[in-house]
């Protein structure tokens, strides 16, 4: 957390790879190539990748692809995946209908 990270560090040029078309985030249909290009555009944290590309922002909220994305980003940055903080998990853990979510206060109502 909060370690000094100079975003001008040379990570080399983006080199196309044969499997760049492979879908990594299935919910939002983001490919390996898009993730690798985003790293070369300066998105060096899981949070930035997520906000820039929407990886992990779909129905599963990253529960499927987060590890895969992390591995790809780490390899591109030439660091260990352990050095990358995961993106923040958000409430609710499963998609929930607005009319159900809205019932949080129902037990305080007189007509309950």
């Amino acid at each position: 957390m909060n370690s000094v990270n100079d975003r001008s560090r040379d990570i080399g040029e983006f080199v196309p790879e044969p499997d760049d078309d492979m879908l990594i985030c299935r919910c939002e249909e983001i490919t390996k190539g898009e993730i690798r290009k985003a790293v070369h555009d300066g998105m060096w944290t899981m949070t930035e990748i997520r906000r820039y590309l929407r990886t992990g922002m779909g129905l599963c909220q990253g529960q499927t692809c987060a590890r895969l994305v992390k591995g790809i980003v780490a390899r591109e940055l030439k660091i260990s995946p352990a050095e990358l903080e995961p993106a923040t998990s958000r409430v609710p853990m499963r998609p929930i209908e607005m009319k159900v979510f809205a019932n949080e206060a129902a037990d305080t109502k007189e007509d309950w």
């Binding site: 975003r7 001008s8 998105m43 820039y52 903080e85 209908e97 009319k99 949080e104």
Partner: protein, 375 residues
């Protein structure tokens, strides 16, 4: 690692990134220091995406209007990222006479400075947005308002500024500024000392502590903001929405999801105050508010909620400009939750101010030293 530049910007949010970009376009050498690990981690990524003029304070309106006229229309092309900018109007909704009064006053104020905003009745509201319930009886309508994607826009400014040679360093939490020979010069972090001819403090809430080190105080405090996001829904409407009582605001994104912000009224007093977390009460309360306006959304699924801090000044508008007492020092903070839509204009004007000493928009009403005791 580079530690000196013509301009050191403190804060890697959209204000810092946009100013860095416009400075770099003018050939200025810039370092941006971000305290957190992520670019755009504060209000820049934690807002409802409004690019609005209606409902804004008349002191900040000229700057907002300048940006919407001159910068927003071409921003996606300029930043080579989809900012998802839609300029299809803002409906500010009301349900009763009290709301009508609030909206009419805001509309009158905005018209006085040249904004096209008018009052419309419930039927006209539904002709613009047929999904709104019969409870809506009045609204203000500003056709030149809109919304955009704060995430791609903020990171787009970062990407392009970086491409133009701006140095960005994250995880560098600035603790103090140091004046040398009568001018601001050094920017101190726990790890390093950076030096610049000019220093811009654009660190949101943290600006206050940083500015205190050179004797400048801008009275502001934190205010919690919370939003919820639905799964993708079929395209329904493209207007930005708000309400007279500000019980919720939001829009449908290009992705199809709805982003709605709101409050429960308990935010200032929750037991987690001090941490920008979402509470168990706020999002359900926003849901109840939304369903009264949009019955069709009752079955839309919420996929996530999030919260953040706004940097609220004591009079509701930001502090932007040059600090007279400390040569070389500039501020841009206390955006009161309005920092996203105004950011391109702020960056563009600050870059001009730093390079030439002049701005196209008069920033006098937003000066940093306007805060006085009431008696």
């Amino acid at each position: 690692m580079k530690k000196t530049a013509e301009v050191v910007i403190i804060g890697g949010g959209i204000i810092g990134c946009s100013t860095a970009y416009y400075l770099a376009k003018k050939g200025v050498d810039v370092i941006v220091l971000e305290g957190s690990d992520n670019i755009g981690n504060g209000g820049s990524s934690r807002n409802g995406g409004g690019v609005r003029q209606s409902g804004r304070d008349v002191r900040e309106l000229p700057l907002v209007m300048y940006g919407i006229k001159n910068l927003w229309p071409g921003l996606s092309e300029e930043l080579e990222v989809d900012c998802e900018y839609h300029q299809e109007g803002n409906l500010r909704l009301g349900k009763n006479e009290e709301h009508r009064k609030i909206l009419t006053r805001l509309a009158d104020n905005a018209r006085a400075v040249g904004l096209d905003v008018r009052m419309i009745d419930g039927d006209e509201v539904r002709s613009i947005n047929p999904y709104l319930s019969e409870e809506v009886t009045v609204a203000s309508w500003c056709p030149t308002d809109g919304h955009a994607n704060p995430l791609t826009t903020t990171l787009g400014y970062y990407k392009m500024a970086r491409r133009l040679g701006v140095t960005f360093i994250t995880g560098e939490e600035v603790k103090e500024l140091r004046i040398i020979k009568g001018k601001v010069r050094q920017v101190i972090t726990p790890n390093n000392i950076y030096e610049g001819e000019s220093v811009l403090v654009a660190a949101g809430l943290f600006s206050r502590d940083i500015l205190t080190s050179v004797g400048i105080d801008i009275p502001m405090t934190n205010s919690l903001l919370e939003c919820l996001v639905t799964e993708a829904e079929p395209p329904m409407f493209n207007q930005m929405l708000g309400t007279a009582e500000a019980d919720f605001y939001g829009h449908q994104t290009k992705h199809g999801s709805f982003v709605f912000g709101g409050s429960s009224g308990l935010e200032r007093y929750n037991k987690d105050n001090g941490t920008p977390v979402n509470s168990s009460k706020t999002a359900p309360c926003i849901c109840r508010g939304i369903m009264k306006y949009f019955p069709d959304l009752a079955n839309a699924k919420i996929v996530r909620t999030w919260a953040g801090w706004m940097d609220a000044s004591c009079d509701g508008v930001p502090a932007i400009g040059k600090v007279d007492e400390v040569p070389g020092l500039y501020v841009a903070c206390a955006f009161n939750g309005h920092g996203f839509g105004i950011a391109p204009a702020v960056g563009d004007q600050l870059a001009k101010l730093i390079v030439s000493g002049k701005t196209d928009v008069d920033l006098y009403d937003l000066r940093y030293d306007r805060f006085k005791a009431k008696i």
